[in-house]
């Protein structure tokens, strides 16, 4: 964590693939404990930005610090301090719930008793402790997504990236999922989340809306709605997307 309470600081972040500019001069910052919504249409450059922030991809230029570390030179340190839940489902389907917890906990160097204690606590809170020894592939999607999120914050990271965590999930489970996100934020974990559901954007502390590789708007959902004279975030999004088309 850097001294100024900012978990992500990006200044003029650019990523180019040949002539295509995926991220065009992104400047934003995320403070500790915040739920930051990262919105944008498909192909707007969200996943590219997340990959850079996670240290999976090298930016073309710009000054970027994550958890106080530089993304060019200190990716190893960054990786220890972040959690990541990918767009695609990413637990091992042929392992049981608890085996997945043990495996991913082990990767982050957690001790066995710590893993057991935390995973039992998480499973109990989710009310699915009875699935402990069930193979993942036998569980419904909603539960799997909740598990994937639990796994991504098992090592209590400073910051967790959620790439479209609620894709294909029913509304009730989505509501529960957001409760989990709020709990995590309350415990001090910063949440960086992308989504296509504009009602979810309302749950975020601040949102940024990306269009064609640029950040078109960045503020609290309330202020964005006032600024664009919109009833809800959906309208804000449509106005912004249309403006550029």
């Amino acid at each position: 964590m850097s001294s100024n309470g900012l978990v992500i600081e990006a200044e003029n972040m650019v990523k180019r693939f040949g002539r295509f500019i995926a991220n065009d001069n992104l400047t934003f910052s995320v403070s500790k404990g915040e739920i930051f919504g990262f919105l944008g249409a498909n192909g707007a450059g969200k996943t590219t930005a997340i990959r850079i922030l996670c240290g999976l991809s090298r930016p073309t230029s710009g000054k970027i610090r994550v958890a106080g570390y530089d993304v060019y030179t200190e990716t190893e340190k960054i990786k220890r301090r972040i959690g990541y839940m990918s767009q695609r489902f990413s637990l091992y389907e042929d392992l049981t719930v608890i085996e997945n917890f043990r495996f991913f906990g082990g990767i982050y160097g957690l001790k066995r008793p710590v893993i057991m204690e935390r995973s039992h606590e998480m499973l109990t809170r989710l009310g699915i402790i009875h699935f402990e020894n069930t193979v993942i592939s036998e569980l419904p999607l909603g539960i799997r997504q909740k598990l994937a999120f639990s796994v991504s914050i098992l090592h209590t990271p400073e910051l967790v990236f959620l790439d479209e965590p609620t894709g294909g999930v029913d509304p009730i489970t989505r509501r529960q999922f957001w409760e989990m996100i709020h709990e995590a934020a309350a415990s001090g974990i910063t949440v960086f989340v992308t989504t296509h559901y504009m009602d979810e954007a309302e749950y975020c502390n601040r949102v940024s809306i990306m269009v064609d590789g640029k950040i078109e708007a960045l503020d609290t959902p309330e202020r964005l709605k006032t600024k664009y004279q919109a009833q809800n975030m959906n309208e804000v999004f449509l106005k912004l997307a249309r403006k550029t088309n």
Binding site: K79, R80, S86, F89, S90, Y108
Partner: protein
Amino acid sequence: MVILFGMPLVQVLLFGFAITNEIRDAKVSIVDPTPDVVTHAIRNKLFASGFFIESEILNSQEEISENFRKGESKMVVIFENDFSGKMERGEHPTIQLIADASDPNTASMLVNYSNGIISEFNRGQQASSGFTLIIAEPRMIYNPALKGVYMFVPGIITILLMLVSAMMTSISIAREKELGTMEVLLVSPLKPFNIIAGKVIPYVLLSFINAISILLLSYYVFGVPVKGSIILLLAESILFIILALSLGIFISTIANNQQTAMMLSMFAMMLPTILLSGFIFPIENMPEVLQWLSLAMPPRWFIQIIKSIMLKGSGINYFWKETLILAFIAMVFIVASIRKFKIRLA
């Protein structure tokens, strides 16, 4: 497991029975202690046939075995002392044919062809002069009973190691990519090297156990001997496993899903292993382009190495070249995959 063990066996049997090979330009060396008109006539007839090309003129028993072990010739033709003299005196001079039967089909065919040529020569002689028959006396070395197993075992080991090591690694890494778990692993503090090693080590062990079980099976069930050093054989197998694994990793850096990995492995490994390694079709008979291609096939060198160790009992000094080639190819693939892996992360 059934697929791992069953498929190669079935393939081998099918290929082995369904295909007959023919001989062209096989290397033949000559032992002719007292060269004369008759032996020259027979030699000319042999080499004019198109089946054989002359490799070397040898003088002693030591040279013959040396020659075979180096793989310099497929067959040695030995004329008796004072050949034409004996013929004139009506003493039935003999020609001994020694063939390298570690490749039994080729060996028996070589012997049959040369027998045919010699008896043809005989008939010509009889017609013109009424002289007596020359007797050709074939002898198969390294595999006296011409057992097919002798040839199949090295091939099966090679195919299985390729299959388990390369195909399974590439598929399992591609599977992680397909499921998205690879991404999570990459975001974690694990180093790419650790991830790869973790995927690869189980397959190294599995392949190694596989190799050992085939050797045991072939020794106790088929009676295939291991004349050379077992340690050397295992060491070479490990080298080959590493090569196959690096190939598998390389394939997985290209392929993004299991199907692609599977197809690539099939084309990149299974077919060449079976068709171009000299395991079933003698390399000498291939069109020149394919012969060149077969030089780049790791299984070709590995099969030669195993054959030398198991059937001929040769030591490392006879195939250090092949070993170096294997090590070199492995290096190339390892370097290529590391570069590929890094590019993907950039």
